[in-house]
Structure formats: structure tokens, C-alpha cells
Symmetry: C2
């Protein structure tokens, strides 16, 4: 919190756009006074909102942009329509030009990823970015990556994700040596896909300064067995949504059960403090914010359907990472990876395309 | 229920072996009188147990086997040590020889899959088996496959899984036209892996008599959007365990919350009927039983850590499928698939190994 941070904000993203963004920024200011905002959006909607929130207006530079990227647009369409002229692109541009330390958008995920990739580009040594999510566990939170940026991750990507996720966990959780696990399945022998097995060998035998735990399984996610869980974007995205779906399903059962009888309703009334705690634990707004890692700049994606509190949490997360200069930390770690031979491993494939050896 | 069914049972599998198996069979008999059992295990433990359960003993042919496959054994070790002499192998053999209609084991999953594959072999037209799970949803149950047998499923496998899962859903849920969805991720453009996109094209355009819904995402699992969800074994296994983990996590929060204050405890007491209903909804024993599909015979895997009620549910599931002659139904469907050109599609890969076209 020592630096004066500038946060670039896409005011037009998300299901409710500026109506959650500006009130969200007001919440941020109560917790992190001293930050500044660059706010990108259409003057017709943003100006009025800023007038309602003078505290936000006082620390905000507003920049009018003509185009808003709609939630249903495909990334390729978004790039065609939104390059240079959209609030999303211009908000990213502020980071690119060094005018802002980090960018936050609640907009279209695919479009945001595509623009960030095209414009910020991947860091030296990284060829595929990852999207990291904060996963609430019974122990504390974990970082899970990738949850949808790189659907098919090869050996190198998985190792890179481990390095980047570990750096993020250090910053966000404030711990020195986060533990890192590789997501796998428990059916022996057939155990896992070749890429995962090869990445395990590298993480196990390299001299990387990472506290590598080994394989974890799907149920280790909620258990919080490790601080960082590494997987490919397809599996990570499915797991994240399966867990969200299960949480929704159980909330539904609970509501149904509590509405069932007078006893249950009275009981529910008496237990409402307990339910409030439960609701708080399960609040998806608390862990709001997917982080794109591996680019020359940090991009935070807020849930499109969140509320001001949720958006504020995404901005808080962005501030923490900008404050700690996460991109620089990752660059240093990648250099260590390279110097320790971790960046130089070769994956030998046999005739059928399977990973035969790692050296 | 018209046929006199014979169920082959591995008495030595699971964390508690015969102690859950025989009491489980007693529960089965209360619901399905008229079935017979072939029970494979070591005489030293099984005989005494059968004496305690004369109703089970009355309809059981007991066959002594020397070897029990332990839970920690690797599939390759299990095959070496257990071929011909283990309770697991002999229980499968009964199906192979036509002496039993279906086999149930609570034993080592990897070993069971390996033995079943090696010995029963895959059906004509199928080259990789799948493990199907019953997934409880807020609508009703769904069939999800594969949850761990075929970690990397190609286009053909995914289509085969759709056909087999649909047949299973018809039998187990007693519905005429179950809906079938393909698990994918929602980030546009990058949408999914090539195999999943190609399988979607085939299921969409083939003349298969399947009610194909299209893509579903991870949160559709708990929502019960479709009756059958198709995915590869790696992703399916991670999703299943992530959902189980989340359910465990929320139960933990609920217990914690209810123990928090006197009000909450009194409320919890009054609401205990509601909680019982909730517990019942979330009871993992109810959906116990993974089904290996695509082999010449049905193999049902019960959870190793279940209790007699859970084991009985796995046997019930086995009985339903044997009763409906699921293997024959699947064989007919595969013939339809082949005749409709569904079995003849070609997947064209471009130079980099990506799926370029399907015809």
C-alpha cells in the first residue's frame, strides 16, 4: 500500500455495467483510500453515475469510449468491433501504456482474454496464459489455474502455471512457501494423462524453489489440501462450475427442507445467525475475480453477474497484486526456472504422440 | 423382474469386505426376492458371515477363492496376482461363462477395470470402455460418463459414450428418450477441445435416434439439464470428485454453523426433520455404483467405503440393468449407429494433429 496505485476500470462490462462498477468503486475507497481510477465508458451512462458518487468522482479520471463489448459477442467479433474504440480495449491500453497498474473488467470473458492476449502479449518465456481463480476451501482459500484460458495445456504450460500460481498465492495469501499440487485422477495405472505425469516429474525433480506436493484429486479442491492447484483450462473450468453447481444444488435443498414444516421454519428462524454464517462462507462474491496470468500486465475479470460488493472484491484483489508487483515477481521466478534447468527440459514423444520421457 | 437373475458378487472387495457385502445382500432380498447370488471369497471369512445371514445363505452358492485383491494394489499387480485365483477375477468369470447376469464388486477400481477389460473384452465396435456414474441433480438423477476409465477420449469414444449412456439412462430411469449433452466450457471461441467439437458435429448431424441437447457446462451437472452427460474420463473423474468435495465442504460448514450458538442448536433441533431430508438428498449411498459400459458383460463397482445399504443400492442398480438386458440394448444401438453412418465418420486431422474436419 505504499505506492499510489492507479486502477484501470472498464465501466461498461458485466450484466449491469456502470450500476455495479461505480458503487463498487465507492466500497473500494472505504477500504483502500489513496487509490486512483481511470474509468472507461460511454459518457451518457457514466457521467450521471459519477455525479451520484462524488467520492469516486474525486479520484477518477473519466475517459469516454464509444463502443461497449456486449456479453454475447465472440472474441473474434469483439476484436473486430472493439479494437481501440471500446471501453474494454482502452482500459487494457492504460496498463499497456503504463498509465495504470492493473485493469479490472466485469465484461465478456472471452473478449477480455482475447484482447489482453493480443494487446498485452505473453511474458517472455510464456506462450500460453492462464486464468486463475480463488477457490474457497475448508482450510483457507486456494489458487486454482487454469480455469479456462488454455483448454489443452502441455507439459511446459502446466509447469509454467505452477510457477505463476505459486507467485500469485504468495502475494494474495501472504504466505512464504505455498504448496503446489497437480490435479490428477486416482484410478491407478491409467493414472492421468501423459502431460500431467511428465509435469509431475519436472516439478518433482527440478531445483525450482517450489513446495511441490504431488498429485491431488478433485475432492482435494474443497478440502484445501494445497495452496495452488494446477490443471488444464478445460478440466479446471468444468471443476469450478461443477463445484458452483453443487453449492447451488445444496442451497436449493436446504431452502426446500427449511420450508417444509412449521417446526423446520421455526428452527430455521432460531438458527438464522448460523445460516447467515453459512451464507457468508458460501458467498460467491467473496472469491470474485479471475486473474489472467502470464501476460505483460495483470488483468482481473470480475463475474459479470456480481453486485457492487463483489465487484469491489475483484478490485481489491487487483490492488493486492499490483501492490506486490506480481508481474515482476513472476518474471523473476521464470528466470529462476530457466536457470535451474526447469525451462530447458525436453519432452520426448514416441511414435504415437505419447510422452515417452522427460529430460 | 420376470427373469430369475443370478448376481455374481466379489465378497472380498471394499474397505470392510464381507461385513458390508453379506448384510447388503440381505437388504437386497427384502426388495428383490427371487434373485440368486454367486458369492466369491475366502471360506474363513465368508462361511461364518453366511451362517449369521441364513436368508442370504439360502439363495447363495458360495465359491471359495484363495486370493483377495487389496485396495492399494496396482492394476498390473492385481492382474499378475489375481488372475484365475482371486475373488474378483472369479466373480467376473461367472459373467464371462454365462453363469451370472451381472457382477458387483466394492473392490479396487483400477484392478476391477483392468480385469474386466482383459477378460470380458470390449463389445464389437467399441474400443474403449467407460465408467458411468449416477449423478444426483435437483431435477432427478443423471448418468455421467466417463468418470475415469478412458482418460483421453477421442471423437469416436465420445460418440460411443453418448450411445451407451443413453441406453443406460433408458433402463435405469425408465424413460423413453433421455436427453444427452456433451460437457464443454463456456469461454467462447476457444470453446472446448477439438475432440468435443467434432463429437458435437457428429451427434448433431447423424441420424442417431438420440435426443441430443448440445453442449452443457459444469454447473449443468447439479442442475440436471440433461439426462446423460458425456465427457472424457479425466474431466469426468475430476468433476465428480470436485462435486463430492464441495458437498462435504458445505456439510462441514453447516455442522459448524449449527454448533455455534444455543439459538442455532435449538433451531437445529427443531429443524431436524428438515435436516434429515437434506441428509437423505445428499446421501452418497443412494447413488452408489459406477457402471463399466462397453464390455461384454455388466460390471458394477460399489464405493469401497460404503455400508450395507450403499452396497445393496449398487446391487439394485446391477439387477435393474441385468433385468433389462442392457448389454443387448447397447449392441442394438451400436448397430443402429453403424447403419446410420454414425460409425463410419472420418476425423481429418491437420498437420499439427488438430481435428480439421469430420465427414
Amino acid at each position: 500500500m505504499s505506492k499510489a496505485l492507479t486502477i484501470s476500470i472498464d465501466a461498461m462490462g458485466g450484466d449491469r455495467g456502470v450500476d455495479i462498477v461505480v458503487p463498487g468503486l465507492e466500497i473500494v475507497l472505504t477500504r483502500r483510500p489513496g487509490v486512483n481510477f481511470l474509468l472507461y465508458g460511454h459518457r451518457d451512462v457514466v457521467m450521471a453515475k459519477l455525479q451520484d458518487h462524488p467520492k469516486v468522482a474525486a479520484v477518477t479520471e473519466f475517459i469516454h469510449t464509444e463502443v461497449a463489448i456486449s456479453m454475447g459477442l465472440k472474441p473474434s467479433q469483439a476484436l473486430r468491433q472493439g479494437r481501440r474504440v471500446s471501453s474494454m480495449w482502452c482500459a487494457i491500453d492504460a496498463v499497456k501504456q503504463g498509465r495504470a497498474d492493473v485493469v479490472v473488467s466485469a465484461g465478456n470473458t472471452g473478449a477480455l482474454m482475447a484482447m489482453a492476449k493480443v494487446y498485452l502479449k505473453t511474458m517472455a518465456g510464456i506462450d500460453r496464459p492462464a486464468m486463475a481463480a480463488i477457490w474457497p476451501t475448508i482450510r483457507s482459500d486456494s489458487v486454482v489455474l487454469d480455469v479456462g484460458a488454455t483448454v489443452e495445456a502441455g507439459v511446459k504450460q502446466l509447469v509454467d502455471f505452477a510457477v505463476m500460481g505459486e507467485a500469485m498465492a504468495r502475494v494474495v495469501f501472504g504466505i512464504d512457501r505455498p504448496t503446489v499440487g497437480l490435479l490428477n485422477i486416482g484410478v491407478e495405472e491409467m493414472k492421468g494423462i501423459d502431460e500431467v505425469k511428465a509435469a509431475d516429474q519436472i516439478l518433482r525433480h527440478s531445483k525450482l524453489p517450489i513446495d511441490y506436493y504431488g498429485f491431488v484429486e478433485g475432492d482435494d479442491l474443497g478440502r484445501g489440501t494445497v495452496d495452488v492447484v494446477v490443471t488444464n483450462g478445460f478440466t479446471g473450468n468444468v471443476a469450478l462450475k461443477a463445484a458452483e453447481g453443487t453449492a447451488g444444488q445444496l442451497s436449493y435443498y436446504l431452502r426446500q427442507a427449511m420450508a417444509r414444516s412449521l417446526f423446520a421454519r421455526v428452527g430455521g428462524f432460531l438458527a438464522q445467525g448460523a445460516f447467515a454464517m453459512l451464507k457468508d462462507k458460501m458467498d460467491p462474491r467473496k472469491a470474485n475475480g479471475g486473474v489472467f496470468l502470464g501476460l505483460n500486465g495483470i488483468v482481473v475479470k470480475s463475474h459479470g453477474s456480481t453486485d457492487p460488493e463483489g465487484f469491489a472484491n475483484a478490485v481489491d484483489l487487483a490492488i493486492e497484486m499490483a501492490d506486490a508487483d506480481l508481474v515482476k515477481k513472476i518474471a523473476i521466478d521464470l528466470a529462476v526456472l530457466k536457470n535451474n534447468g526447469g525451462g530447458k527440459y525436453a519432452v520426448h514423444k514416441s511414435g504415437n504422440g505419447k510422452v515417452a520421457a522427460v529430460s
